[in-house]
Symmetry: C2
Subunit: 447 residues, 2 copies
């Protein structure tokens, strides 16, 4: 083949690939455990030995259940970037800034390949990292940063690389999916399930990253950059799931929908991009609606490739270690790509403001507890529907049900926009018999 | 990085990658259409131009809906292998032998990279092809040979490459899945649905490759070689779906199972491999049970990666063209691997004979139409259960139902073996009130 690239299938004997690992939490020890368990397999897959020669972590004496005595120990992780005998720096410390960022940047500047599971770092500093990677010809791989053990990055950057995707969407956070699944299956309230998730170690003491959508937003930002083009992270619209009740899940199900915390990105005309993270109603028979518990899943759609869905464990020692090691295998095989899988860097753009995007919505309106001032539910349904239709909101269906001692009205709208919904919510709040702020959830049609 | 491999992310300007395509059916024209539609995207993904310069097909004058006037035309496909200006030969003619095989072997011998969608060729002549690929340092890629647009090969050869998988299994044939889905959803009989599938073009006039399992067997053989080790194709146990009735699907559903045509391979102790294609009962809530219509899906399981499922369109112009082009992108990026993703060739082995493998079964026994010689269904159920238990077959449950004018007995066995089932079938056939040969279907537990 006439190519400047190295396209060989019969490799000469290659020197060992030497790793330095920063961060020895669950994933770091998982990577070492995987390497030791599957050493012969890894060698047969790559034709070379892959070995950890150095580690860095805060606590030198903690028992991690694995023998680290033969490894060099660096108290300062940045030193891994300078170590001449390390080929690949594996950053598993976490955090968008601080030591993790300093190490990754130093390693790239030293021309070393970097493998990381750090979604916040990649999502928030992509432009700087892409530039360093390119300038110093140092690959930066991050399969483990998105959806744990699922090869989601590989699927988008390679598997459907030929296709101009029109949309990608997924369940990108296992904790929030676990909570929604438990609420749906057991009827328990959000706070109760969250507490259980925290006790089981599925959720952090501060659950915000998971349930307010930030963790999913980091992952979506990365996927969007690969599939469409880089976006400014702060322009992503993110909203969390704290207001979802078990009753919402049941009402949605009655209407043929499941409620899932989704991250979705769409290619719009003129190279614009729509991207957001929020709880949505999706068709109950869609592939993503079947993904339950701590599982993650990603669906891509393109004019040639059609819909493809991949699902698996989104976190945990084993799956994440598998993803880290898949990147290391790619490096050992000599396969590396620019950060977003494109040869020319594209400047990040702001996502399209979500307020103007066409969408349907689920609208939940709670009435005040019955009294002389509160009409019966049937009358209230008719009156509120009239208010909405007088404001030119298309209504496709409406029903009422009792929730505790108050009635709730549930509407499905026709195609409108968040701007319209936001204009109508204060109008509804002023209706004398309506209690609190109505809840609006986006409907997203997924295959 | 100290590596003999080319691990660069900032590529120099590369010459165009020039393709010669043999076979201009649906997939061949689809590949040309994709190239022309997504030319800018492909260039941005690879940093080089990808162009078709030559084609070969039987009929030079047929209208294929695309302009071929600028391309060199070869009447003899083998000539593509010798053309000095072609970098990659794309074989889309099909057939395990004949012109397709001659072209692929000639191209590899000429040191050219080959991309093919030809599952029969790869499954049946893997050892020869692997040797030629290695000897002449010519990559042979075949993502499109397995599960159409789904990046199944990439997932197994790269995504879960670090893990020693314990099992992989999938719905690897869209036609048979379409038929089973239609039977389940409409209650129509097998023959009736097959006829419709043939009229719609989903099934061939001779449907044997699809419904007797041979198409799935080719794909399973390829996946098994990558995940575990190469197997002798003829040692694969293959059985078809012609005896499945709509009633079987309904009875299985009552018991909490779906019936799917599956290809499954398992890693056994001592480097042995179990692999087979057959209709199976799988848990109704498992991921594969949700995969309907012409969709394909693959689940892998490993100690680190856990269960991962990928699903999408298993055939058709767009998805298959996407898969072919994904391989071409890998070549353009300089990423190529040995046939099975391992550096050292392993000799193929025979699969473990399935007769001795432990399994549970679904057993359907039809009684003769009611007469004085035929006991009532409750009595028959008790008598047959006694016969089976006297033969030491563990029975977990049994029930009866009417199917047309005769009663049927349905048993789920405990763990036994196909050898035991095969020993008992003639004993059952000799029972005076049993009509015909009972049907036994394997139960496969899938996540």
């Amino acid at each position: 083949m006439t190519t400047a690239h190295h396209n060989t299938v019969s490799s000469p004997a290659l020197p060992p690939l030497r790793l330095g690992i920063a961060g020895l939490g669950t994933v770091g020890t998982g990577v070492i455990r995987l390497l030791r368990t599957h050493m012969a397999l890894l060698q047969s897959r790559t034709g070379r030995q892959i070995e950890v020669i150095a580690v860095s972590a805060r606590n030198r004496t903690r028992d991690r259940g694995i023998d680290l005595s033969a490894l060099q120990w660096y108290d300062n992780p940045i030193a891994l970037a300078a170590a001449p005998d390390i080929d690949v720096v594996v950053e598993l410390m976490g955090g968008a800034d601080g030591a993790a960022r300093a190490l990754v940047e130093a390693a790239l500047k030293a021309g070393k390949a970097v493998v990381t599971a750090n979604k916040a770092l990649v999502a928030r500093h992509a432009q700087t990292l892409a530039r360093l990677s390119h300038k110093h010809d140092a690959p930066l791989l991050f399969e483990a940063a998105v959806a744990g053990g699922i090869p989601a990055i590989k699927m988008v950057r390679e598997g459907v690389a030929p296709d101009a995707l029109t949309r990608l969407g997924g369940i990108l956070n296992g904790t929030s999916n676990f909570i929604l699944t438990e609420m749906a299956e057991t009827g328990r309230a959000f706070d109760d399930v969250l507490k259980e998730a925290q006790e089981k170690g599925y959720a952090e003491a501060d659950p915000s990253a998971d349930i307010d959508g930030w963790d999913a937003a980091h992952k979506l930002s990365i996927l969007t950059a690969i599939a469409f083009r880089p976006i400014l992270f702060d322009s992503l619209a993110v909203s969390g799931m704290r207001r979802i009740t078990t009753s919402d899940i049941h009402q949605a199900r009655k209407l043929g929908y499941a409620i899932k915390m989704l991250g979705v990105a769409r290619r719009l005309a003129d190279d614009r991009v729509e991207a957001w993270v929020q709880p949505c109603l999706i068709p109950a028979q869609s592939g993503l609606a079947q993904v339950n518990g701590v599982y993650n899943a990603l669906t891509t759609e393109g004019p040639f490739s059609g819909p493809i869905t991949i699902s698996g464990q989104g976190a945990g020692e084993g799956p994440t270690a598998n993803a880290v090691m898949a990147d290391i295998i790619d490096l050992a095989r000599g396969h590396a790509l620019p950060l977003w899988g494109r040869m020319a860097e594209q400047a990040p753009i702001a996502c399209e403001p979500i307020e103007g995007l066409p969408s349907r919505f689920y609208l939940r309106i709670t009435l005040k507890t019955p009294s002389d001032a509160v009409p019966d539910a049937t009358t209230a349904l008719r009156e509120v529907r009239t208010i909405l239709e007088n404001e030119a909101l298309p209504i496709e269906s409406g029903h009422h049900h009792m929730e505790g001692d108050a009635a709730q009205l549930i509407f499905l709208t026709g195609t409108t926009s968040l701007a319209e919904i936001n204009r109508l919510l204060p109008i509804l709040e002023e209706v004398a018999f309506i209690n609190g702020t109505p809840l609006a959830l986006k409907l997203e049609d997924l295959p």
